[in-house]
Symmetry: C2
Subunit: 285 residues, 2 copies
């Protein structure tokens, strides 16, 4: 990530960061991925139209971008389907942004947590003047902190800062504590520790569910598992006390998809994880 | 304050609280006081017209309200002029809100800090279904916390919470720490302690500047002092290292005013306060 200190804006998590960028970019159609968080789509949809890009094994189909003013992407690990955005699409979306004056929001919600592959590098590095990079401490530390950061291209910095003044942000005490945590290397140690924890969880989950049924497993804190019937699988899991959602709950566009569950494995406390995996396995077999 | 727990929304300070109310109320003209914070007026002015109510010795002239959708007031201690909103005006603005379906935002920025008078009670108690009460920990604890709260009438609760979801808020850890601080009575002790500190500061400042030159002194963390020329007085104080602003810096409407300085006395560290008062006195004499 290309991040001079004066371009980093700390915010109360990704939702505020996205809202700041929306306020700074102003009117015009936004695009997002056909699968993702409905709450993020709702932020984009405040007073504007939103289009949905098809998602396939190479991530979002960025060739569908046309007259959009901006696009929200999860290039490292498409949420929730799990593919990284392919190299040729990274180049293509950077070109689109430069030619059309578009803005790309790179939601790097789990960039620290890859397991079986080399780091991909941020899309932002390809076009630092067109891409807003968004990072978060929600997965590495805790969502309860409400601490995230956006790295903002120069032409958006003034309107982003003006919007932040109007809407407040996280307290200076939390920000200083995080800065100290990072400067002391304790943050890096924490990320490495959590990467091991999450990797072990992923391995246990893949073993339990079967390698051939799961997708999106080489990074992140969630995977997708194929099921014959989403509603039935969600109900079976729920009856055993395991909360999962069908892929349909993350569908933001019209793209059809095979029935599947999205299984997040970051949340359960350590002592409950093994039981939760066993129960999910029983529910799906 | 009439504040059932399920109507209290914790937010990152007053600016976020006001932005949430603006999002919930939607379009339509807002009113504010002719003197106040330009940053608050800027929040109101996002996509709508703003009118300014004349301020006199009884606070804001609420009889000027007509077709406004909402009004922002500082009833306990008009900021920065210092008058409490008179009882007959409190009744009148509550009636206006009920008859017209208007919304009143009561910015109780310094309600805990009154010195020579009985507590006035919140305007919100007169019309809990029309008034949003806004409190803050910025003066009692520290602005660096970015913690405030709004008490929201039932009809605005859902849109306020929806707006808060879209824009994030303070971290749960800070909120839980504050809740614990309040439940243990430590917050009340802190407020009483700070009230004494601020009262002593006010007394020292009034003695130094002369009782007949100052206004708005029976509450709050700022007072107004008459000067022959605002620009000159600000420059003289600045030359002695004392940062004060002219009343003109807080003028949001067209209302004329006699030249005066607004002197905040909450901010200087304890060890610097006596020197700051002596320097201000020298600058103004």
């Amino acid at each position: 990530v290309h991040a001079p200190a004066d371009r980093i804006v700390v915010c109360s998590g990704f939702a505020q960061g996205l809202a700041l960028v929306c306020a700074a970019v102003g009117a015009g159609r936004f695009a997002t991925e056909a699968f993702g968080h409905a709450s993020h789509r709702a932020i984009l949809a405040e007073g504007r139209e939103v289009s949905a890009l098809t998602v396939d094994d190479e991530g979002a189909c960025v060739d569908e971008l046309a007259r959009e003013r901006a696009v929200l992407l999860t290039p490292a690990h498409q949420f929730p389907l799990g593919a990284p955005l392919a190299a040729h699409r990274r180049v293509a979306v950077a070109e689109w942004a430069r030619e059309r004056g578009g803005v790309v929001v790179e939601d790097d919600y789990d960039g620290e947590f890859r397991y079986d592959r080399q780091p991909l590098g941020a899309l932002q590095a390809l076009a630092p003047e067109r891409v807003v990079y968004a990072g978060t401490a929600s997965k590495s530390l805790a969502p309860a902190l409400r601490l995230g950061w956006i790295v903002v291209p120069e032409h958006l910095l003034e309107p982003v800062l003006a919007a932040r003044t109007r809407t407040d942000g996280p307290g200076a005490i939390d920000q200083l504590a995080l800065a100290d945590f990072i400067a002391s290397s304790a943050y890096d140690r924490q990320v490495r520790r959590m990467r091991l924890v999450y990797r072990r969880r992923r391995d246990a989950l893949v073993r339990a569910l079967g390698r051939d049924r799961v997708r999106g497993i080489d990074a992140g804190l969630q995977l997708v598992v194929d099921v014959p019937d989403e509603g039935e699988a969600v109900a079976n899991a729920g009856a055993r006390g395991v909360a999962v959602e069908g892929l349909a709950a993350y569908r933001l566009g019209a793209q059809a998809h095979a029935p599947a569950l999205v299984v997040g494995y970051g949340t359960p406390p350590e002592h409950a994880f093994t039981t939760a995996v066993a129960r999910l396995r029983a529910a799906l077999s």
